[in-house]
């Protein structure tokens, strides 16, 4: 009875936690109808998405956040920020959205270091010429000759160029005098070679998606493009702050699109809902809570606490699962397509493994499954959060990679292999810490933890072997080379080899429980290197997953795991649990 009540409370808490923020703020009829505006379609980076997604991604690229604070401290949503900015409202120039953290870059732009490192376009404006010169010189160099300053300058300049291009793509050329039209048209044609948002969907007579400025320009002489005209009217109304005419134009635009091309609205409101749910970060917080609760429950053998944590883990797992399925549905690709999605998938699978451990070992797990699922789920979702800064995480795939079959088989299997190795390694870390620092690791617990590690290592070997071979078959199928010693292939091979070594060392009696735990922790290093380290080499056919700051965190992670390995090798008599064994 008590258990049921606790579980009910946990579930209710989780539901309340997840629903917050899903509902848009109330809008009166006389306000700007931003919610409806957020649902309008736009094609950017090759994918149709709602303006809501576009605004969030764009803002994330510039500032690493999905909302912005105005000068008077109010929180402004990404959509409102975008509308204010592209319509040219005066205060938009003062939104501090450009994140610049490098001090040398800041001083060369004549800016002071400040908390949160965010600057407005108006602050950057006086020194844009300088930035451009520095960026051009950095671009002129070969990659190896670029120093940190060059790389940081390029990073900032890329943000500025992206910002300027996107601003220009929302220009209204109606005010441009006749004699400059030719030059403007040429400028727009050049601009269309860059990645710019195409906001005007295909409609009657126009089979393609087009950016706003070109659609408005082409209507100059010929008959007006009604869709583009309404969109321009929306922006004009926003600029002057006339909510009624904005809403009026918005409705006309929506109604027109609805009659001309109703299919364009498909999936849009679902995607807005997905964005607002923000399931991954919320699940991450809950997983952390699961971990903390289970840690106490496990250390002090509090069965009730462990039970509550288990329920909470399942409650966080359900939206996590939903969000992965939703991503697949929205993007049309299998769950893992890039580093970001591999992180959320590996986290998901690790939590699933935690749940399976809890079921497989029943009472004897004593919450070990929660511990593993909680920390792995939290860590991977946090990693995913930091990886999301590159823009749309549901990007379209390059031609080589665009084979859903291989993405669905090879990538999923190999991710499961990573996951199982990490789960085993995480148990190894708990084994070493609890043995060294506490008396919790008695004979039975050690035996159980060993069996969990052994079981997951078997599956890690199975998945990583099959995944690696499938990767080879993909390569054979794409360019006729089953095994090319490409860095990413080698990374996967290292995981297979390491898992094989662990099992053979065990079969040969070379290691016992503790040795196996130490090896499992070393498996974390191997896996982390092959997941992120290989990309740092930026060699070979897999180098699409390149990220910059990851290499620092990878070093940190590898060093900590190395320390744990050394701790695991401390003689057993110095372990606090040593005496009880």
């Amino acid at each position: 009875m008590r258990k049921t009540i606790i579980n009910t409370i946990v579930v209710l808490f989780a539901v309340w936690f997840f629903q917050s923020g899903v509902k848009p703020p109330k809008e009166a009829a006389t306000d700007f109808q931003l919610n409806a505006f957020a649902h309008l379609p736009v094609k950017f980076d090759g994918r149709k998405k709602p303006i809501d997604t576009f605004a969030r991604n764009f803002l994330t690229v510039l500032s690493d956040k999905q909302s912005v604070r105005s000068a008077d401290g109010n929180r402004i949503s990404a959509t409102q920020w975008l509308l204010d900015t592209v319509s040219g409202r005066p205060e938009a120039m003062d939104y501090a959205v450009f994140r610049i953290e490098n001090l040398d870059v800041l001083s060369s732009l004549g800016l002071e270091e400040r908390k949160r490192f965010r600057y407005s376009y108006r602050e950057l404006l006086p020194n844009l010429g300088k930035l451009d010169t520095a960026a051009r010189s950095a671009y002129g160099k070969e990659d190896r000759q670029r120093d940190l300053y060059d790389k940081q300058i390029m990073k900032v300049a890329n943000k500025i160029y992206l910002f300027q291009n996107i601003m220009a793509s929302f220009e209204d050329p109606s005010g441009i005098p006749q004699e400059q039209l030719m030059a403007t048209a040429q400028r727009y044609t050049r601009l269309e070679n860059y990645s710019i948002p195409l906001v005007i969907p295909p409609g009657s007579g126009n089979p393609r998606w087009r950016p706003l400025m070109s659609s408005l320009l082409s209507t100059h002489a010929a008959r007006p493009d009604p869709l583009a005209a309404e969109f321009a009217a929306m922006l004009a109304a926003s600029r002057t702050g006339e909510a009624t005419s904005f809403n009026d134009a918005l409705h006309k635009y929506g109604a027109q699109l609805q009659t001309e091309n109703p299919a364009v609205f498909e999936k849009l409101s679902f995607e807005v809902f997905y964005n607002r749910l923000g399931a991954f970060m919320k699940s991450a917080s809950l997983y952390l809570l699961v971990f903390v609760l289970s840690l106490f429950g496990w250390l002090f053998r509090k069965e009730g606490l462990v039970g509550a944590a288990r329920t909470l883990m399942v409650c966080a797992f359900v939206p996590h699962t939903f969000a992965i399925v939703a991503r697949s549905f929205l993007s049309g690709y299998p769950p893992v397509t890039n580093l970001y999605s591999s992180a959320i998938f590996i986290g998901w699978a690790a939590v699933a493994a935690g749940i399976i451990i809890e079921i497989g070992f029943r009472k004897r797990s004593a919450g070990m499954g929660n511990l593993v699922g909680g920390i792995a789920g939290f860590a991977t979702l946090l990693i995913a959060h930091f990886l999301a800064g590159d823009g749309d995480t549901m990007e379209q795939m390059r031609a080589v990679l665009d084979t859903r079959f291989w993405l669905a088989t090879h990538v999923i299997t190999i991710s499961l292999g990573y996951m199982a190795t990490f789960v085993s390694g995480t148990i190894g870390v708990f084994y070493i810490f609890s043995g060294l620092l506490t008396r919790r690791l008695d004979k039975e617990t050690a035996e159980n933890m060993y069996r969990m590690m052994y079981g997951t290592t078997c599956f890690a070997l199975l998945f990583s072997f099959v995944g690696t071979v499938l990767g080879g078959l993909w390569a054979d199928d794409s360019w006729g080379r089953f095994w090319g010693w490409d860095p990413k292939e080698n990374g996967a091979l290292l995981i297979v080899l390491w898992n094989a070594i662990m099992l053979h060392a065990r079969y040969g009696g070379m290691v016992k429980d503790r040795g196996f735990a130490v090896m499992a922790v070393a498996g974390n290093i191997v896996t982390a290197w092959s997941w992120f380290g290989v990309n740092q080499l930026s060699v070979g056919l897999h180098s699409y997953g390149f990220t910059q700051s990851a290499s620092f965190w990878l070093t940190v992670f590898v060093s900590t795991q190395f320390v744990v390995v050394l701790l695991g090798l401390v003689p057993a008599r110095l372990w606090r649990s040593g005496a009880t064994r």
Binding site: R404, F465, D477, G480, W483, W485, D486, Y507, S538, G540
Partner: protein, 472 residues
């Protein structure tokens, strides 16, 4: 003798060998920051003794002495693992059944071999195989065939080895995979075929072999081609090819050379040391470059500095620099720069080029490929490629084959024991570059993958169910 057997049947040896291979793979991966993939492969993996450069383990900014450490190479480790695997199994996994069961086991074993051979040699598959549907079914079908072989083998193992069937099967699969990869390393050949739209091509360029070709164009009815294989072009060598009225002295063989630059734009100090060449070298600057690394994404462009001597008189016919950069297929047909030489009454067109092979089907008849159309699709509003596809016409008059086919990303054409993959394209999408691979052991990974999978899964499911029974 017993000691040797004991050494080889120990699991400790397995663990040591696997650890050594991890070190080797790790070093071979890091080495690719500086070196090209083929160099790394020869230096680390496809050799008995590997020479590991010490500096690969350190950041490139640190000044590490240029030391090379000898280490067991890929082939050595591979063969030792094979011996180790076989001895361990021979010693520890004895066939413990007899009578009818043993006979049945052997029958299934032979059946498995038969199925495997059938799958490998493609019994029952079309001679011209291009995909018209999704990659999905084709690969599933292949994995399905592999599963068929694996299941037959598993039944054999189950009959012969009872509980240890999975163990035996999975290691058998590993053995098969190792042997397959060894065969690939020795026998697989990679080449390319470059075709402009509307053009018909009947030869391939071998990516890893070069040759010096002399085409005698004096006769209006036919050309006479004489080639000097790239292996003969050693520094200081004097080559006397049959059928040519001159000798070739090799001054310098360059593993990599620069993209030729106009000589006027080169600084005076460099120009003063530049040899006096005839031909393109008289107005272009070509010089030796460090080897291209896997990180830069560029390829080596070898060049050779030669001097020709009239065989009859012994007079010099001039010194020439012949670079792969002058060969049109290397630069994706951006230009064509033959070197022309006149000796007596004969005109020669000279190229330093990839080894050229005219393709034939197994029946010995030549065939050719015509590019009808090349399609390069991008995602709307981006420069990101969405699809590359070559619409081709495969013509083999001797075998009466004339078929229009499509080769696109992940969907190659398999014909006459070669596989044609969409690999690149010419400037302005005016043509295609196909990767042409001949690898007769290409089905082995499909088979061994499924064999290992079935064996491993059977073994783990067995231990899992034992565990769950114990849990109650």
């Amino acid at each position: 003798m017993k000691k040797i057997i004991d050494f080889f049947r120990s699991l400790k040896l397995t663990v040591v060998l696997l650890c050594l291979s991890m070190v080797l793979v790790f070093a071979g991966t890091l080495a690719q920051v500086d070196k090209g993939i083929w160099t790394v492969m020869d230096q680390y993996f496809r050799c008995l003794i590997a020479w590991i450069d010490l500096h690969v383990f350190f950041p490139r900014s640190m000044d590490i002495p240029d030391v090379r450490i000898p280490f067991p190479g890929g082939f050595l480790i591979g063969w030792l693992l094979v011996i180790n695997l076989i001895t361990v199994h021979w010693a520890s996994f004895k066939v413990q059944v007899s009578g009818g069961r043993k006979v049945a086991g052997i029958v299934f074993l032979l059946l498995g071999v038969l199925v495997t051979a059938g799958v490998m040699f493609g019994w029952g598959t079309a001679s011209v195989a291009a995909t018209e549907s999704d990659a999905f079914w084709r690969v599933f079908l292949r994995l399905g065939r592999g599963t068929l072989a694996a299941v037959v083998f598993y039944i054999a193992c189950l009959l012969l080895y009872r509980k240890r069937a999975g163990m035996v099967l999975l290691h058998g699969g590993i053995l098969f995979l190792l042997i397959g990869e060894f065969a690939t390393a020795l026998f697989a050949v990679e080449a390319t075929m470059t075709i402009k739209e509307g053009e018909t091509v009947s030869y391939i360029d071998h990516s890893r072999q070069l040759e010096l070709s002399f085409t005698d164009t004096s006769n209006p009815d036919f050309d006479t081609v004489t080639v000097v294989p790239g292996d003969a072009l050693k520094d200081g060598a004097l080559i006397k090819p049959d059928g040519l009225p001159f000798d070739i002295k090799v001054n310098r063989y360059m593993v990599n050379s620069n993209n030729p630059q106009p000589l006027q734009g080169i600084s005076e100090s460099l120009r003063s040391r530049y040899p006096q060449y005839e031909g393109h070298g008289a107005r272009l600057y070509v010089t030796e470059q460090p080897e291209a690394s896997g990180a830069s994404g560029t390829r080596n462009a070898p060049a050779v500095d030669v001097e020709l001597f009239n065989r009859a008189t012994g007079d010099s016919l001039g010194r020439y620099i012949l670079s792969l950069w002058f060969y049109p297929n290397f630069v994706n047909r951006s230009w064509d720069m033959p070197t022309n030489i006149t000796v007596g009454d004969k005109d020669y067109t000279v190229y330093f080029r990839f080894r050229r092979e005219y393709v034939t089907s197994p029946s010995g008849n030549p065939y050719s490929i015509k590019l009808l159309d090349f399609v390069h699709e991008k995602y709307e509003g981006t420069q990101m490629p969405k699809d590359f596809a070559s619409q081709i016409l495969l013509i083999n008059e001797g075998d009466q084959v004339e078929r229009e086919l499509r080769i696109w990303m992940n969907n190659p054409l398999r014909y006459a024991r070669r596989t044609f993959y969409q690999s690149g394209y010419l400037p302005d999408d005016s043509g295609t570059v196909l990767q042409v691979v001949r690898n007769d052991s290409w089905m082995i990974p499909y088979l061994s993958c499924m064999i290992v999978f079935v064996g491993m899964a059977a073994q783990f499911v067995q231990s899992l169910s034992r565990h769950l029974r114990r849990e109650g």
